[in-house]
């Protein structure tokens, strides 16, 4: 527990791999962290569903069938149909594409940009650090949902803009965590050695510091994944996410799902379950990853 220095993931992985190969690493993770492994399994399943949506979905996600409006779950429609007679299961399956696309897109861009800013801020220190931190403070004081709302309002609600709106509030939140990890790395002898060897700032940051904040980076990334999916659902629910008739879980909960909640509860229950399950799985996996890599790091 005394280890406070974020250590090199690649090194650990290499050491583990030497013992039993990558398969050994995976088996070890499953044995020691069953909860995290279960989360990872759901995540992988979700990805497979999203990739093969057009193969496994029983219906067309946008096909309107007024003959089957609001029909309850049956053999023909396992999870019922919505107010346009569209199959709920099909739209859930296609909705996973939207969720994962926005989730991975926003989390990867957000965490990466945050990591670069955080490491840069720690590396240069002094004035650069001070000003960057003040800017981060401003963005963090801005309520997350309000910032995302304003960005969608400015850019318009297409899928790339939605990813952007979710990414921007995440960057400062990531930069702050990474910066505190990078501050201790800056004092490491190998950074001094690199500087003494005459390497430029860019090389030191990219080759020597960034790889060493890999542990907090990966942990933040998985934690952001869940948050991004949740935020996407929230924005879609407010009507600021992707537009109809695109299938998205938050969008499915909007409008008719609430109006007909009493007579057709399947419309309100299943999309919410899908959101919760997906975010739950990502968080479960992220938690175990944190316990394995850097137990002292605190994320949400």
């Amino acid at each position: 527990m005394a280890i406070n220095v974020p250590f090199d993931v690649t090194q650990i992985a290499a050491a583990e791999a030497a013992r039993g190969g990558w398969w050994g690493v995976i088996k070890d993770f499953i044995r020691r962290r069953p909860l995290g492994a279960a989360g990872a399994a759901v995540v992988i399943l979700l990805m497979l569903v999203a990739l093969s949506a057009n193969l496994i979905a029983p219906y067309d996600p946008v096909a309107v069938d007024f003959g089957a409006m609001l029909s309850r779950p049956s053999a023909a429609h396992w999870l019922g149909t919505d107010a346009f007679g569209r199959d709920v299961l099909t739209r859930l399956i296609y909705g996973s594409r939207t969720a994962l696309l926005v989730g991975f897109g926003a989390a990867m861009i957000g965490a990466t940009a945050g990591a670069v800013l955080g490491v840069g801020s720690a590396f240069f220190g002094g004035r650069v650090d001070l000003y960057l931190q003040r800017v981060m403070d401003i963005f963090i004081a801005f309520p997350l949902i309000i910032l995302a709302l304003a960005i969608v309002a400015i850019l318009g609600n297409t899928l790339p803009n939605l990813i952007m709106a979710i990414t921007i509030p995440m960057i400062p939140r990531c930069a702050i965590v990474i910066r505190s990890s990078a501050l201790s790395i800056r004092e490491m002898p190998y950074v001094d050695a690199a500087r003494a060897a005459g390497f430029g700032n860019g090389r030191i940051i990219l080759r020597h510091m960034l790889p060493n904040v890999m542990a907090p980076y990966l942990i933040l990334l998985t934690s952001f994944l869940g948050q991004a999916i949740l935020l996407e659902a929230t924005l879609s629910f407010l009507g600021l996410g992707v537009k109809e008739p695109t299938a998205a879980w938050g969008l499915m909960l909007r409008g008719a799902a609430v109006d007909f909640a009493e007579s057709a509860p399947w419309m309100a229950v299943f999309p919410g379950l899908a959101i919760s399950l997906a975010v739950f799985a990502f968080n479960l996996f992220g938690d175990s990853l944190r316990d394995a890599l850097d137990p002292k790091l605190r994320t949400l």
């Binding site: 309000i146 709302l149 919760s276 739950f280 938690d287």
Partner: protein, 317 residues
Amino acid sequence: MWKYVVKRFILMIPTLLGVAVLIFVLMRIVPGDIVELRLAGDSSAVSEELLKTERARFGLDQPLWKQFGTWLWGLARFDFGTSMWTGASIAEELKLRFALSLQLAIMATVIGVAIALPLGVASALKQDSWVDYVARIVSIAGIATPGFWLGILMILVLLVVFRWLPPMVYTPFWVNPWQNLLQLIWPALAVGYRLSAVVTRMTRSAMLEVLREDYIRTARAKGLVETLILKRHAIKNAMLPVLTVTGIEFAALMGGLVVTEQVFNLNGLGLLFVQAVAHRDYTLTQALVLLVASVFIIVNFFMDVMYGWLDPRIRYR
């Protein structure tokens, strides 16, 4: 200590100013302005002339730096101005809604903390037991479940099972406390669950860390009773990060209730914000964002100061 407090206090000003600049600029970048939106309702063709006089009425024809200066000067005198959309005084518009959102945030925080502290401590004490597993699953689920969906489910269950719906019209607490609680307890529960999840996780990890400290081992070695070790040494020290995260979550609630308010048909700050942005009501949006950000920044300030007050080991620079 006082030097630090003053310095930390002064540091709030640039942050607030930055928030003011950011929202001011953001609102001007959002396409479409309030004059166009207001006049779009009229079916008759709108003349350039009319647009011009209307813009001049709101002072939108002034250069940006001048508009910003006027706004700041008003703020300095605690004058938020009037809403561009309704023409009503913003201070009046905010008053009741702020009270509603504040009450909801306080209720959610109280509920959340009341659940989280015992759960988090138990989970840490019995690490890797079934108690721990249940607590962890319940709290991860709390972070994963969208509050608005939980709200929809609650209304659904109340309606289908109990054939009852919470009152739909807002009654201030000082008018009829029972009626008020009957309405607000549901959104408070929906939001409080998430808060309790965040706080449980923090309590657990802070407790786990403290329990491994040397002074706990020392206390055990000298034969101190376990309950005293917990009460006097462990919980007190573990509470610091818990306090911080509670403060941050509470502050975030003030502006983050947007969707929950929508589900429960509550006219709070969140709903007002969505309307204000949709109407391009510059003055109202700016005032709202600044208010919510101020709450966040001030809560953070108190957390930082309290940290040092509660933990004498923290040195100020």
